[in-house]
Structure formats: structure tokens, C-alpha cells
Symmetry: C2
Subunit: 335 residues, 2 copies
């Protein structure tokens, strides 16, 4: 039970720790050091200032400071294809010895011959087959281990970086700045929720309970007296486009006041967020940097940004010009 | 931007506020004043002490301190029928003028004649019809207003109390005690998630994003340029029995370390919670108090506790004897 001594000790500890945090913040007066000065940076800082300034007309109580972030293309890269698909392809190769039938069955046969293009020519159906063959059939605990194991060793084919080091340093700073100002930061991604949760806490500071994504169904079962959740080869929910506001409402039950995306798949999330009363913030990351990252928008098959670009212009949302706005793209790597 | 003065001011403010909280806590040394001394109370206090004591073998980091609570029969009463069903019946009466066909269609016809028993004789199918007729067809924003409006005026037929004052005072203290010790408290209920979220924050201190429940599907739509979510007459998820661990994994993505329920519908949630490593806590509220509340268990159609009672005995879970363990049932009401 809390004695007065314990309470005093707590009080002092809190004071000391808030001073420690504070002095770091005071030293690093710029909360977004990887952003060049410009309209995008100013818009982010101004919005946070507005909603946190007590007594101002735009003030938003802390409980309502919810910010949602798409993941692929917004917090980490998504080219030349979604990273989760690299994971699935690696899993196909690893599981192949247990599936001799894959040698003669598409899309697996082409994949195993190294011909990804032919394998994926089957479109959504082929992708679904690959995802179900690699993401279902195990328990949730087993799947988490598989994802962590893959991330620990896999490297991106172009940059040769671990995938978790292909996150955007400027966006990490936005996440941190928002949280330092009382925001709860959520990921709302078309990616698989159980593919993201094992690492988002360490990489983004976003805990599992603040990660929303696509999902397959799971089934509760008791095996040898031990309760497990088994992952079934059946789509539960696709968290994309119209699905994003649906999932936000389902999981969070509040309308966010800030939303960050990079594609038409995020458009409805930005619409839903900005349709609420009071100050609202919507931002698109526009991939304009073919040298440091990739340049793509209206005609890309991955992360297409077309309707969103038009609506952003019409509604004066913030559009980040990656090439001009970002001093760096990825975090510095200790080599 | 945080100046050193602002930082110091913050530090002092935090110190002062933690002292204020602390001195209240020191005065009220007993965190569970509405509980009689006994095994149940001791078990709750001992568990919280164990997982929060730094350096002890049972210590659990704050991020992992997740506690899940059933709602109906665990946090508030559920007799003579689920309160959400009272809401639905009141809605049927209110909507009847817009539905002349109900006069001759069951289960509505009997309901409108005041014959609830005949109306509900149709079982799950009848209940589903009533729920869909009253819970779907409007936007999420409209539904929230409807729920709040009902709660502001509706009274329980037996106690004549507002429904939100039929919550269990001893359980409110458990929620508060857990949160004071770094726990995140969640509701995981068979009740409708959007029926609970409008009031759980004020009544239980549980914010919308920590409320998990059954749901119907919603659809994103843009009406006159305004994005809305429309509630559809289609079941999305039933958060009961095997569904509870599934939903916990889906929404939270962590296994709770403490679970509180009152019926066989909570059994799988308690099993899933206690199957993790380290200290675990499971508690059943046993409705033994026919005078102050209701007495029911193995044969009740609402909140049946049969298998759960056996498993609790076998696994030495805490079983609250409401009559013996609780000094009061409901909070004191200012009349």
C-alpha cells in the first residue's frame, strides 16, 4: 500500500524523469530535424501547436488526440513490392519440401523456379493463394515467431537493408512529436495485422493494441489441454479503402483528428478523419524521389496515388514532396 | 516549443499532481473498501502486488499489464434480461409508428402488446430480428446519440435506477486499483460494442478504444459530400465464448494477464488468459445474492455459470461470493 514515503519517492522520480525528458527536448528544440523547412513541416508543427495549446479555440483534450498512419509507403517503403509479399515468397521456398505438389501447381511452381512475374500474373487470386499457404495453418504464437525470425535475417533486394531499417526517419520523428504532445498513434494498414504487431513497438513505438490491419480468421481450440488460436486460410477483413474508416470505428471507436497516408487506399481514411469538427490534419506522402527511394504515383500498381492527389489539392491537405521535404529518407545505420 | 521554464513548470505540476493523487491514496489505504476481508479480496490485492513489485520474480512490465472484463453480470447487472434488450424493446415501441407492418408481424406484434415473453419465445431468431430492426439503418453518429438519449431517461423495471447506476461498486474499485497500478483495463463483452462505447468512459473509466464487443457490419458511404458509416442489419462478430479470445487477439494483440467474468460465456477468455506464462489471475463473479441483486448460476438462461464453476474449482480461480464478499452492490445514489 502506498505510504507517504513511497508517494514522495514517486513524486520525486516523476519530477526527475520529466526533467530528463524535458532537457532532451530543450536541447533538440526542432522536433522534426530530418525535415527541410517548408510548407509540409510548418503545417505539421502548426497543427500540433494548435490542438495542444490550452485555452485556444483549437484545443483538443488528450483523450481525443488520435492520429492514424498507413504503413506501406507511409512509414516504410513498399517497392518494388509490398514487403509482406517478400515474406510470403521466402516462406514458400522454405515450406516447399513439405509440399511436393507445389512443383506442378501455380503460382507455386513459377515461384520456386524464381519466376515471380509469372507467379504473380494470376493477380489477386494468385496472391491470395500464396498468402494463405504461408500465413495460415499455424497458431498465432507460432506465426509471431516465424515473422520475427524472418525479419531478423531478411534483406531488401535493392538496398540490402533489413526491412525494419527501410522505415522513413522523417515519419519516425512525426510519430515521436505527436506522442510527446499527448497523441495516441495508430497504424491502420492494408498489411496483415499479425505480420506487423511483432515489430511495430520496437520500430515505431506503436504497441500491438494500436495496430489495425487486414486479417484472416482465427479459431480458438484446446490442444492437449492448452488453449490456442489457430490461423485459418480464410479472409476475415481487408483493411483498405472503404475498409479503413470501418476498421477505425470498429477498433478505436473515435474519429482520429490526424491521418497520414500515401495512396488512394488511404483516401477514405483521410476523408473520414477530416470530416469531424474542430482542427483536422491530413497528409499524403508523395513518392517523388527516384534516387533516394522510388518515384511513383498516378499509374503505379503498388501504392497508386491518383484520386488522392486531386482531392488533396482541392482540400488543401498537406502533400509531402519526399525529394524536397526530407533531408534523409532512412535512419542512419550503424555499419 | 518547450523552454526550460516550461519544462520546470511541467515537472512541478507533475510532482504536485502526483502528491495530490498520492495523498488521497494514502488516506484511503484500502484500495477495495467495498470488499469484505476474505479470500477474494486478498487474492486480488496479492496479484496486483506481485506483478507490480520491481525486482520480484512475478514482476510484469507495465505494457503487458492487460486486464479484461466481461460487462453483463460482471461490471453491471444483467437481470431479468440483458439491459441492451431493454433498450431494443424501448426502441421498438418508439419506432412502431414508422412500421405499421409490425402490428401483425412477430416478434414485434407481441412486443407492442406488452407480451415480451411471447415475443422472445422465438429465441435467437426473434432477438436477432429485434436487434437488427433497432440497431441498424442509421449512421454510427446517429446511433451514439440514440444510446445516450435512452440511458439518460430509462430506468430498470425492478430497481428503478438508471441502468448506469446498476454497476457493481466493488468492481469499479477493482478497475481503479488495477489502473492505479499501471494496468490497461479492457471490456470484452457479448454486448454490442457501439451500445457500450458511448458511456463506458464516464461510468467505468474505460475509453472507447478499450471496449471490445459484438458488432454488426458498417459501410462507408459519402452522403451529400459528407462521409458516414452506416450500420447494416448484418452480424459482423459475436464476442462470446470462443469468440472472446479471438477478439482479444484481434483487437489487443497481447494476451491479458488478468480476466474477470461471471458466466460460461467468459470461460474461454479465462482459459486463454491463464494459459500464458508468469503470474495470471482469473476471477468469476458468482451471483449468490438474491436479496440485494439476483441469485443464479447453473440453470439460468441469462448468464449461466455451470462449466465455469467447475473449472474455477479445479483450477483454483477466484470465485466471488457476492453475498459474502461485497459490502455493497451498487454505488450510493445521491437522491
Amino acid at each position: 500500500m502506498p505510504s507517504i514515503v513511497k508517494v514522495l519517492r514517486l513524486g520525486v522520480a516523476v519530477l526527475v524523469s520529466s526533467l530528463a525528458v524535458g532537457s532532451t527536448a530543450a536541447r533538440a528544440a526542432d522536433p522534426l530535424p530530418s525535415w527541410n523547412d517548408g510548407a509540409s513541416k510548418r503545417a505539421i508543427v502548426a497543427f500540433v501547436d494548435e490542438v495542444t495549446k490550452a485555452g485556444s479555440p483549437g484545443f483538443v483534450p488528450e483523450a481525443e488526440r488520435v492520429a492514424v498512419f498507413d504503413n506501406d509507403g507511409t512509414l516504410w517503403a513498399e517497392q518494388p513490392m509490398y514487403f509482406q509479399l517478400f515474406f510470403a515468397l521466402d516462406r514458400v521456398r522454405e515450406l516447399a519440401p513439405q509440399h511436393p505438389e507445389w512443383k506442378t501447381t501455380e503460382p507455386f511452381a513459377s515461384l520456386l523456379k524464381g519466376d515471380v512475374k509469372t507467379a504473380l500474373a494470376g493477380g489477386d487470386r494468385a496472391i491470395l493463394q500464396i498468402v494463405m499457404a504461408t500465413h495460415a495453418g499455424m497458431t498465432t504464437v507460432e506465426f509471431e515467431k516465424i515473422v520475427k525470425g524472418w525479419l531478423a535475417t531478411a534483406k531488401h533486394p535493392v538496398t540490402k537493408r533489413p526491412y525494419t531499417q527501410m522505415v522513413y526517419q522523417p515519419m519516425l520523428e512525426v510519430l515521436t512529436h505527436l506522442r510527446a504532445n499527448g497523441f495516441k498513434t495508430y497504424i491502420v494498414s492494408g498489411g496483415g495485422v499479425e505480420f506487423m504487431r511483432p515489430w511495430t513497438s520496437a520500430v515505431y513505438g506503436v504497441p500491438p493494441e494500436q495496430v489495425i490491419g487486414s486479417s484472416i480468421k482465427t479459431k480458438f481450440d484446446v490442444r492437449d489441454g492448452v488453449p490456442v488460436l489457430v490461423r485459418l486460410p480464410e479472409v476475415d477483413f481487408i483493411d483498405d479503402k472503404e475498409g479503413k474508416p470501418v476498421a477505425i470505428n470498429q477498433y478505436i471507436g473515435r474519429r482520429p483528428i490526424a491521418a497520414f497516408g500515401n495512396s488512394d487506399g488511404d483516401l477514405q481514411m483521410l476523408q473520414w478523419t477530416t470530416a469531424g469538427a474542430g482542427p483536422r490534419f491530413a497528409l499524403y506522402v508523395h513518392h517523388t524521389d527516384g534516387e533516394r527511394e522510388w518515384a511513383y504515383d498516378r499509374t503505379s500498381s503498388v501504392g497508386r496515388l491518383d484520386k488522392g492527389l486531386d482531392e488533396a489539392a482541392a482540400k488543401r491537405w498537406t502533400v509531402v514532396d519526399m525529394k524536397k521535404d526530407w533531408k534523409v529518407v532512412y535512419p542512419a545505420v550503424a555499419k
